[in-house]
């Protein structure tokens, strides 16, 4: 399962040679200038041609698994768009652009993509690996992008062409606090890894928990992968928490929770989606046992319904795309694959709404086809949306990943679901709605 990647694990500058940096900068400057001169910013050819949806993500390198997950969302969306007659006479196609998960490679890749694809309609990505380096370039070139980075840096984004329908990393803090409140806890301990990714959840968790009337009795930054955490556990237990909020890596979690179990017995643990990922499950189940895992550990993950009209349409199209997507069923419940599918569908509907494939023009219609409103027709597929728009109706697209509600910064956090591990399966036990999160963030 590839629910959440270490999207915050941006490694800018870690391994770049000076030569590569210099080359990247030269290419960036030269190609960006060329792009602006050639395209005047954003126009897609008026003659019927195939509109390219760039799959701008790592397809090689350490995060090579990201790319296929993206293609698995793009291909079924394009299939449905093309089967539905395309957009204003244009067919769509998914084209891969490999960022290699490295800004040094991603910057020239972005510039090359923009410069050499006059029919580029928009993109999926970039990921956290390359977003900080490439979002400004893409925004300047007026390329609508449905990013899959969770970086909190983009929470207050002013980039016009930036759209995010995957939850930002720090939104998890709100979801954790809301679920703990719902479960009736009032005293909690925050046990998070001392890495930047885990710590990005903590400020919003503290803020939300306080706002909900809870008391954070302990807040610990754990040094990762130590051979023992007994002292930290004793300190935590002295504060008498009812629940532990956590995001720590699997090995640390295994050691920490097994020692907690040995010392005084487990207490409920409420973790982020990493808690439901297979490496975490394997490490912690091995350490504390299956029954303790089911009884004490709950994870919060982005809401990814595997039911409903929109998901059913997505699922059918996904399974029909097996010539482009190997083993398509593996992506059927992947929330990221669903949001990539939604991203392409939204771009197509926005083009229809704006009656233009010009990127700068249709970008302004993205909100119009997603936000709710009185008198709007709710649509759950491209075909429904196209038909409604053709009748002159205003639409609200509800995606495979659920309803979309962009804020001023073009972020749509969505809902979260609480799940436990039961007999080798993830069992959903409840939900925190997007509205509850939105109310807490105000």
């Amino acid at each position: 399962m590839q629910f959440i990647r270490q999207r915050e694990n941006v490694m800018i500058g870690q391994t770049l040679s000076k030569f590569r940096r210099a080359t990247s900068l030269a290419l960036a400057c030269g190609l960006t200038a060329g792009v602006v001169a050639m395209t005047g910013g954003a126009t897609v050819s008026a003659a019927p041609s195939t509109i390219v949806i760039g799959n701008f993500n790592p397809f090689s390198g350490a995060d090579a698994s990201f790319g296929p997950e993206m293609v698995a969302g793009c291909q079924p969306a394009v299939r449905l768009i093309n089967n539905g007659g395309g957009v204003l006479g244009h067919k769509f196609s998914c084209v891969e652009f490999d960022t290699r998960g490295d800004p040094a490679d991603a910057v020239p890749a972005a510039n090359k993509m923009i410069a050499t694809n006059s029919s580029l309609g928009g993109i999926l990505g970039p990921s956290a690996d390359e977003a900080l380096a490439t979002v400004p370039i893409l925004d300047q070139a007026k390329v609508p992008m449905f990013v899959d980075t969770g970086q909190a840096f983009f929470d207050k984004s002013s980039y016009k062409y930036f759209w995010r329908i995957t939850p930002a990393d720090d939104v998890k803090g709100y979801a954790l606090a809301l679920w703990a409140k719902k479960a009736g806890y009032t005293r909690a301990a925050a046990i998070f890894g001392n890495d930047a990714g885990s710590q990005s959840d903590v400020p919003t968790l503290l803020k939300a928990w306080k706002k909900l009337g809870g008391k954070m009795v302990d807040n610990v930054k754990l040094a990762l992968d130590q051979s023992s955490y007994r002292t930290e556990i004793e300190q935590m237990l002295a504060t008498k928490p009812q629940v532990i909020f956590t995001e720590i890596d699997p090995q640390t979690a295994g050691t920490f929770l097994s020692e907690l179990q040995q010392l005084k017995g487990l207490i409920p643990v409420l973790g982020t989606e990493i808690t439901l990922q297979s490496p975490w499950l394997k490490a912690v189940t091995g350490a504390i046992g299956k029954s303790a895992m089911t009884k004490y550990v709950t994870g919060m993950q982005p809401y990814a319904p595997t039911a409903g009209a929109s998901w059913t349409t997505f699922d059918k199209a996904l399974l029909a795309s097996k010539s482009q997507v190997p083993q398509p069923s593996q992506w059927a419940s992947d929330p990221y694959t669903m949001t990539y599918y939604d991203g392409v569908t939204i771009m197509a509907l926005a083009m229809l709404s704006a009656k233009s494939t010009d990127r700068g023009t249709y970008n302004k219609s993205i909100m119009a086809v997603t936000e709710p409103g009185a008198g709007k027709t709710v649509v759950t597929s491209f075909a429904q949306g196209k038909a409604a728009l053709a009748k002159g109706e205003r639409i609200q697209y509800v995606g495979a990943g659920g309803p979309i509600a962009f804020n001023k910064s073009h972020n749509s956090s969505g809902a979260f679901e609480a799940a436990v591990q039961a007999n080798g399966n993830v069992k959903i036990v409840g939900e925190v709605t997007a509205n509850q999160i939105a109310a807490l963030t105000k």
């Binding site: 930054k221 992968d225 051979s227 007994r230 002292t231 930290e232 097994s258 040995q262 091995g286």
Partner: protein, 295 residues
């Protein structure tokens, strides 16, 4: 009970694993003058052997024996077939360090390829817990502490009262002179690798027991504290490594209690730096000075 007192007790478990590992590490360095940076990965390999033994229904003592045996054979083999050819060609210490790093990476990646990048736990029954002076220990942790005590006593007895131990000390002090005095230094070196490997394997299984979930990188991550304990005690000196392990293990736990868990490693290594500033050769000086590991 007071948290600081509890921390002392908790530190003993980490110190015990560190002691077993760092004594093996430093003993081998003292006799052979090879800084074996693949040591942590041999530990991991032994943990995987223990994993396979327990998965096949083996008990903890069987897993420990298998781990120690594998460590001994692997270390002996590494020396005979990888390191010795380089030593015979006159490869200097820096070159040997590069060779051991290469072996470390090969072992780590080989283990990852063989076992996949996931987590493993020894398949042993859940341990019972015992309260002692307000501190709670599991039966497995008591085994780890007991193993450390036995291993330290064994090493002490070997070095103090046996012919082999005396030969090891003589070889560590001056190999040329030892050879001139009729000591079969090649055999002594073989014995040092076997003994060091057995301690390495035992430490690997103890580490896997203690962390409960381990990966192909677990031993490699533990190498820095092992080296720190060895350096603190005076590289090449087994008794120094024992003291170094206790200082590093307990100071890490105490700093978590007194300051913050975030500073756990920071404080332990600051202590190392301060001690080395005052006494660059470590607590026990002679071997480190002879090996020219200090100016």
């Amino acid at each position: 009970m007071n948290l600081y007192v509890l921390s002392l007790g908790f530190g003993l478990i980490t110190a015990s694993i560190l002691a077993i590992a760092s004594v093996g590490f430093t003993l081998q360095f003292g006799v052979t003058n090879i800084l074996n940076l693949a040591y942590g990965d041999v530990m991991t390999g032994c943990a995987f052997v223990a994993y396979l033994v327990t998965r096949s229904g083996g008990s903890l003592p069987e897993a420990l024996l298998a781990g120690a045996g594998t460590g001994a054979l692997a270390s002996y083999g590494l020396n005979r077939f990888v390191y010795t050819p380089f030593v015979k060609r006159g490869t200097r210490m820096f070159g040997m360090i590069i060779v051991t790093i290469s072996v470390s990476l090969a072992l780590q990646n080989g283990l990852q390829a063989a076992f996949k990048a996931t987590f493993f736990s020894l398949a042993l029954p859940r341990p019972s817990s015992y309260t002692f002076l307000g501190m709670i220990f599991t039966s497995q942790q008591l085994v780890i502490i007991g193993l450390a005590v036995v291993a330290m006593l064994f090493v002490h007895a070997l070095l103090s009262w046996t012919k082999l131990g005396r030969a090891m000390r003589a070889t560590a002090a001056d190999p040329e002179l030892a050879r001139s005095c009729g000591i079969a230094t090649d055999r002594v070196i073989d014995a040092a690798w076997l003994l060091s490997g057995a301690l390495c394997g035992t430490a690997g299984v103890a580490l896997a027991l203690n962390v409960t979930s381990f990966t192909s990188t677990a031993g490699g991550q533990f190498l820095i504290p092992i080296i720190a304990a060895a350096v603190l005690g005076g590289v090449g000196h087994p008794y120094g490594a024992m003291i170094g392990a206790v200082v590093i293990g307990i100071s890490a736990e105490l700093s978590a209690a007194v300051i913050s868990p975030s500073y756990k490693e920071v404080i332990a290594f600051l202590i190392l730096i301060v001690v080395l500033l005052i006494r660059p050769q470590g607590i026990f000086a002679e071997v480190a000075t002879q090996k020219e590991v200090v100016a």
